[in-house]
Symmetry: C2
Subunit: 327 residues, 2 copies
């Protein structure tokens, strides 16, 4: 049994816990939290909860520690720190900071003979893999990544910071005509506004100026100004009843040409439709935790990404079974 530890018990931590339950070769060995451990009620029975600050005292009880923190402030410090004591894996998703994060984690992991995997999830993660595979197969082509329909936590937070807003949720939605154009193989050029729209569901505070809220949202730089945005005012009850889920998904499409003169077109498309973003991300993390454990057992150390992991390491089957049943 591969003994998994979880650092952090929010939505993602719970998603990881659920995924472990589905994998017969793994068990949840411990959860670590910055909250009071006694306040946590796990879904899994009989699993100890420890203070995050005491984690290193439990290093011998854990084969792989999955760090379920946020990319903004948690992971940049947590992953290099815990890579000193554990084999670790995270879902760091701030694309532009990946090179720096990799360097920090790699140094800590190598120095302490651990393996560390970063940026494991669906984007970065499965989407990245599909961008890589497709671009290697069709070098003369163009990549398109669409996100949604799904809840963007960052944009929902941005709505809630607007004056007069009590609560809100934002959906990122791919533009159907843009998807169709890509699938036709015409290799269209897009500006930001062409690919995604943003749908906002907003609960206004009593007496707030709704016209001003709508204007403040639609003109917000970076978040909304470059998109066609719709703002729907609803009650707190409606928000709870109809927008409580955390769905997401998206599409990675490569359109390319082959033939001596590029005369033949090809479309490679990968898509996800997810009821629960954190549970799916947790499921990806758990599969890669299996790979991390096996790769470390073969002597590998240092920081890895999904690009470095041969697919067979993810699979509980023997290689003979994989060749007979999945190939």
């Amino acid at each position: 049994m591969i003994r998994i530890g979880i650092m952090g018990y929010g939505n993602l931590g719970k998603g990881i816990e659920c995924a472990i339950k589905q994998n017969g070769d793994m068990k949840l060995a411990a959860v670590f939290t910055r909250r009071n451990p006694e306040d946590l009620k796990l879904l899994t029975e009989g699993v100890p909860v420890y203070k995050a600050e005491d984690a290193k005292d439990h290093a011998k009880e854990i084969d792989v520690l999955i760090i379920a923190g946020g990319s903004a402030t948690d992971l940049p410090t947590q992953t290099p720190e815990y890579a000193k004591y554990f084999n670790v894996i995270d879902s760091f998703d701030t694309h532009k900071n990946i090179p720096t994060h990799f360097a920090n984690v790699n140094a800590a992991a190598k120095e302490n003979n651990h393996i560390a995997m970063i940026s494991v999830g669906w984007d970065p993660g499965m989407f990245s893999l599909n961008r890589l595979y497709a671009s290697c197969i069709l070098p003369e082509g163009k990549d398109y990544t669409f996100w949604g329909k799904g809840v963007s936590q960052g944009h929902s937070d941005a709505i809630r910071r607007v004056e007069g807003v009590a609560n809100g949720k934002q959906y990122t939605v791919p533009v159907p005509e843009a998807l169709d154009a890509v699938r036709s193989g015409s290799n269209p050029e897009f500006i930001t506004r062409d690919m995604h729209t943003r749908e906002c569901y907003v609960v206004a505070k009593d007496g707030a100026d709704k016209a001003k809220i709508e204007e403040d949202i639609k003109t917000m730089p970076n978040y909304f100004a470059d998109y066609n945005t719709t703002v729907n005012f609803i009650s707190e009850e409606e928000l709870k009843a109809n927008h409580a889920g955390i769905p997401h998904g998206g599409f990675v499409i490569r359109s390319g040409n082959t033939g001596w003169n590029g005369e033949n077109k090809h479309i490679i498309e990968y898509s996800l439709k997810l009821d629960s973003n954190p549970e799916f991300t947790g499921s990806v993390l758990v599969a890669y935790a299996r790979a991390a454990h096996r790769m470390r057992s073969e002597g590998m150390v240092g920081c890895k990404t999904v690009f470095d992991v041969a697919p067979a390491y993810l699979c509980p089957m023997s290689k003979e079974e994989m060749r007979a049943h999945l190939l």
Copy 2:
């Protein structure tokens, strides 16, 4: 430059040749043929054509030999034979014989310190990878593979063997309602007939009994009897004008559940829409030839499949570039 050899110059061999042209780190070093070498006119200028029987005399000129033969009779003997002299790669696609083929190729490759990759293409190949990734991420779920719309060479050959048939082509077509049912997450159970239909375009010989041809096709065991099959009689001119291409494609879909009680649904879908089956397969083979060359350079030998190849080996970028631009 990675020096590629091609064994066999049919549709697949030509597809490989076209793919090499798109990859700046590779060059076509030689083509081997069982025909008279002087009868072959390559697309690439200045590349020698040798007799297949003399291939081993040119082993020092080739880094990876791509074997572009058929799975029925060519590859079972060719791949183990050439693995004695070359690093090799093939697109062996008789799923049920993969374990035997693997064992034969593995023995020859290991004994001679070569690397060999088998069953590289899209199914087996990219579809297999997607079955593996998706089943590891969503262990509680169900896989569906649909093929088409595309030309099945085997079924087209079967039509042409029917008495009274001068020529013919067969398209495998996924049933749209079946695709929709899978995408809904309802995990339907199908029999063969539910998933695919078979569309035949047949040129009858002068004076042939068309009703009997149609009956013979529709009742042919293994090939057509288990499917809803349509037979369309057309002229040789129409066949040439409208059915000369070799398109194919398909869908690998996994529908699975997560959550403590499996309460959330997820759909992972991978699809291909290919104008040219042999050119796409050739493009996959060439990307894996890069991987084979690199893996051998690191000392790996023996038989490998797509499951054993870390994605980074396929990509001409440095790992730093991949992390910065594709992750």
